[in-house]
Symmetry: C2
Subunit: 217 residues, 2 copies
């Protein structure tokens, strides 16, 4: 269980916060709109009405102790930039911010965002690339039992091939891709692919099978 | 090469249209804003300034002959609903519409949309589920060389196991999931999985390897 704070309850912030909570995490949401805050009661751990550009508010809520902050404000760029900077300065390890356009995105990275999301643009690319698919992968991604995730190999896999490890039979995992230490990406590695210590593996399988290998931050 | 018409040039419509064009498709974009239309010159096949709620406009542009229409209007629900209905009535086979909220989505399905996308909400779920990943799959999805796609099995695969087919060695494809005729989904099918005639297979591999098996509409 990780601690998340989601600032801004637009469609993006709401669905993100609800999903994180459903996944078993501790989720605090903040918005300056009282009605929106009330509508989240029971759907997240805590919902607070506040202006997040106020540093004292963030301090009194203990934001610095959270593992991840998501700044889900799009239209009000000024606030989104200020809040992103504040939470990063306070020491939140991982900050995700939503951008309205490319320029906004660049500023967010400059002030400390670890990841910037542009939902409309990103979904445009995604839908284009998957237009003729029947959304099998979305079904997996949105399913409660299965996931596609990234894991770190355990010691007993080091320097063995996928065949030797018997990844599918013993671990129920299908390796879709591997990222080497030098950032090289091996897509669809064959049975003779040798797992290295520094690898990150993208796998598909049951949540209970994946959980055992989850990447810890 | 397919023919696409994208109506509405917000962030979603723009990135969708550009990506479809980059993928080698024929793309017509329509928006009532002259400046936006001009900014698409050279980035798509045709860009036309017009009000798409006008049935005569859609007829004169030959919209009924397009394979896919994407109605990428969010805020103006009335227009988005009218246009979705019009293009479907005209005979466009596959209509994707963008919704602003759940109610809007339901109306769009009722008037004929084949798929409804809610970029902010969908990305909220997606980001929540992938929060600790290093985005290996996004790298694949956004790469020009590799894809994750859905394919139909060819005749010589019918009733054979993945091991017998030697899917990875001979075809360079990694089968991530299979959807049976009865809609059952087998995630991460093992080497002994028997491919059936009615299966849809989600695979990962090089674009050139996948292209051979692409699902035709
Ligand atoms: N300084 C702030 N402190 C707290 N909440 C804020 C602050 N500024 C904006 N918000 C909240 O952020 C939420 C989302 O903001 P905004 O409307 O800009 O996002 P959006 O990208 O337009 O989302 P959507 O398109 O879903 O409406 C709003 O509910 C707003 O009340
Ligand atoms: N009837 C219409 N005919 C043609 N274009 C239209 C029509 N109605 C709206 N549009 C265009 O659709 C585009 C997107 O509309 P809208 O602003 O509602 O979408 P949006 O979801 O808010 O997108 P974004 O958030 O990226 O601004 C606008 O550029 C607008 O000019
Ligand atoms: Ca899942
Ligand atoms: Ca919008
Ligand atoms: Ca928006
Ligand atoms: Ca790709």
């Amino acid at each position: 269980m990780k601690q998340f704070v989601v600032i801004g309850l637009g469609s993006f912030g709401i669905s993100l916060a609800k999903t994180l909570y459903e996944m078993g995490n501790d989720v605090l949401v903040i918005d300056k709109d009282e009605e929106l805050v009330q509508s989240m009661a029971g759907l997240v751990t805590h919902a607070v009405r506040a202006d997040a550009t106020d540093e004292n508010v963030l301090k009194s809520l203990g934001v610095k102790n959270f593992d991840v902050a998501i700044v889900a404000i799009g239209k009000n760029m000024e606030s989104s930039i200020m809040i992103t900077m504040l939470v990063k300065e306070m020491g939140v390890k991982y900050v995700i911010a939503k951008a309205h356009n490319e320029l906004h995105a660049r500023v967010l990275y400059k002030v400390g965002a670890d990841r910037v999301v542009m939902p409309e643009k990103d979904m445009g690319i995604r839908v284009a690339r998957n237009i003729f698919s029947s959304n099998l992968l979305d079904l997996i991604e949105f399913s409660k039992d299965y996931s596609i995730a990234e894991i770190l190999p355990i010691e007993e896999w080091f320097h063995k091939t996928l065949k030797e490890i018997r990844m599918r039979e013993r671990y129920g995992l299908n390796v879709i891709a591997a990222k080497k230490m030098n950032n090289e990406i091996i897509v669809s590695p064959g049975p003779d692919y040798v797992v290295d210590e520094g690898d990150i593996l993208a796998v598909c399988g049951k949540n209970i099978d994946i959980k055992k290998f989850e990447i810890k931050m």
